[in-house]
């Protein structure tokens, strides 16, 4: 582990690099209102972030990442296009038996810009790649836009698509739902009997709590509709599985995806956006012959990303966290902007891992 002041020096060097590329430096607070983060990430964030309470201030969290406060700062300012950089501590409870530090420095770059997303995606990726160029890292990429387009193109009901879309970031639940909707898993026990009753909502026990009888009746209606819906065709599930298991270089992926798009026409526009991103990356000097694309990339780690996603990894060190991660998070700006939305893409670097890599190579 590198010396803390060396890590700060490295962070300052990276911030200066991003400032030279047109970013404005910002310094968001460390204590963030817990409510916003809980609303965005749900209860899981409590397992990862440090929650603290003050009788007057209410519940607060030690900054688990910079993205949320930077997005809020940007949206409150009401600006359109902007580039930001920042450096500072983030706090995350180490998961499982890992002995990783709970407090570490992140340096970030965030780009808010309307217009062509391919160009913004490529600018951010190329900038991070350039900042890390001397380290010989392996880069991997993915694209949630293609996954979402594939789900929306399934021949099934809208509620089923919404349920799958909601669990895109929870592969285990996604798989369980897909199996059920495809008729590969049996309906829950007692479901058929319940739906066959003339009044399924009838119950001897009184209804307690806030959930109303009308809500129960609405769910019964939804379950009836679902029971009557035909299964998702096996061929479509197979195509989705193909998509999720894709591993190719960026240079070759477009052809593969265009082949898949013949049978899955709804992914067509997303594939063309990916192709445009590939060209933009090449124009920024990225070697797309060596850049990896994985169909399932980012499905467990990067929950608020909803388009292009990427990470930079130390070769041969799967035990280490990624040196840098990033991606597009348009949906997050939609949630935080309360109706207002601005396309955004960003990335963070962990300077202590940069130093580790420099030492290893020296």
């Amino acid at each position: 582990m590198a010396d803390p002041s060396a890590i700060r020096d490295e962070a300052a060097r990276l911030v200066a690099f991003f400032e030279a590329k047109g970013a404005r430096r910002v310094d968001p607070p460390v204590l963030l209102p817990a409510e916003t983060l809980l609303d965005l990430y749900g209860e899981d964030i409590r397992a990862r972030a440090y929650v603290t309470a003050d009788p007057r201030y209410g519940e607060a969290m030690l900054r688990p990442d910079f993205t949320v406060p930077v997005v809020q700062m940007h949206m409150n300012a009401g600006d359109e296009a902007a580039r930001y950089t920042y450096a500072g501590e983030v706090f995350r409870k180490p998961e499982g038996a890992s002995r990783r530090p709970a407090e570490y420095i992140q340096v970030g770059f965030e780009l808010f810009a309307g217009g062509a997303s391919a160009e913004a995606d490529a600018e951010v990726f190329a900038l991070i790649a350039k900042a890390l160029a001397p380290l010989g890292l392996r880069a991997a990429t993915g694209d949630f836009g293609i996954l979402k387009a594939a789900v929306s193109g399934l021949s099934t009901t809208e509620p089923r698509k919404r349920a799958l879309m909601r669990h895109l970031w929870r592969p285990r639940r996604f798989r369980a739902l897909l199996d059920r909707f495809a008729g590969r898993a049996p309906a829950p026990e007692g479901r058929a009997e319940l739906l066959a009753k003339p009044d399924p909502t009838a119950c001897v026990a009184p209804l307690v709590g806030l959930r109303t009888k009308a809500e129960i009746a609405a769910r019964i209606a939804a379950l009836r509709e679902d029971a009557a819906a035909p299964p998702i065709p096996a061929a479509e599930v197979a195509l989705l599985d193909d998509l999720l298991s894709l591993r190719e270089t960026m240079a070759n992926i477009t052809e593969h995806l265009r082949d898949l798009a013949v049978d899955m026409p709804t992914i067509g526009p997303a594939v063309e956006r990916l192709a445009a991103r590939g060209q933009a990356l090449a124009a920024h000097g990225v070697d797309i012959e060596a850049l990896e694309f994985e169909g399932s990339y980012g499905r467990t780690a990067l929950e608020y990303y909803d388009g292009f996603v990427f990470g930079f990894y130390a070769e041969g060190r799967p035990d280490l966290p990624p040196v840098a991660t990033g991606g597009r998070y348009d949906a997050l700006t939609r949630v935080l902007g309360r109706g207002h939305e601005i396309p955004a893409v960003g990335a963070v670097i962990r300077p202590e891992l940069v130093l580790d890599q420099k030492e290893r190579r020296a």
């Binding site: 209860e43 669990h167 285990r172 119950c203 009184p206 709590g209 959930r211 769910r219």
Partner: protein
Amino acid sequence: MSVKLGVPSKGRLMEKTFDWFGARGVTLSRTGSEREYSGAVEGIDGLELVLLAAGEIPRELAAGRIHLGVTGSDLVREKLGDWQDKVLELEPLGFGHADLIIAVPKAWVDVTTLDDLDAVAAAFRAAHGFRLRIATKYHRLVRDYLREHGVADYQLVDSQGATEGTVKNETAEAIADITSTGETLRANHLKVLAGGPVHRSQATLFKSRSAPWTDETRALLARLKAQLGIDR
């Protein structure tokens, strides 16, 4: 140097623990007045009895201030992060059984499994503007369990007692609590979700990994385990 054994300081858990050790030739007893928390050990030399609140035993084991301790397996999992790095389960003692379960109103005829709970949580959030609330004091166990099963759109609200009443009082939509008989659930018009409990708890003898284990205390532990018939 003696081996310190932490045992719950009162109630059935203490009595049952004394019975369990007594049946194996190690007599534990409280000494002095009813209110004085000190104990005596007969039947083996070098074992020292420490009477503690059951809820504090996990912490004392993790800190290595006691070598051995009897407490509920649920309390160890709830109170210690990475509990397996800190304590070793020596022996389940066969009493103090209690299941940590998730319960919802019985009138929710459309909910029997975690799948249903997840679907209802999404609809509830859309209808009410906040996440479905689950009242519990077992935050870590419940959160880990729901995360592992991919349940979203819920929140945990803290409830340190009378948890079954929170639904009727409209401070929660569901509960997660220890239940040994289920009668309180029935009385509050709640039912348990199918698919097994979050955790099946019982009184368990734990060994601290960080207590001062010397040649002497290790030898004593070996003798104690032989006498108690524990082969782990």
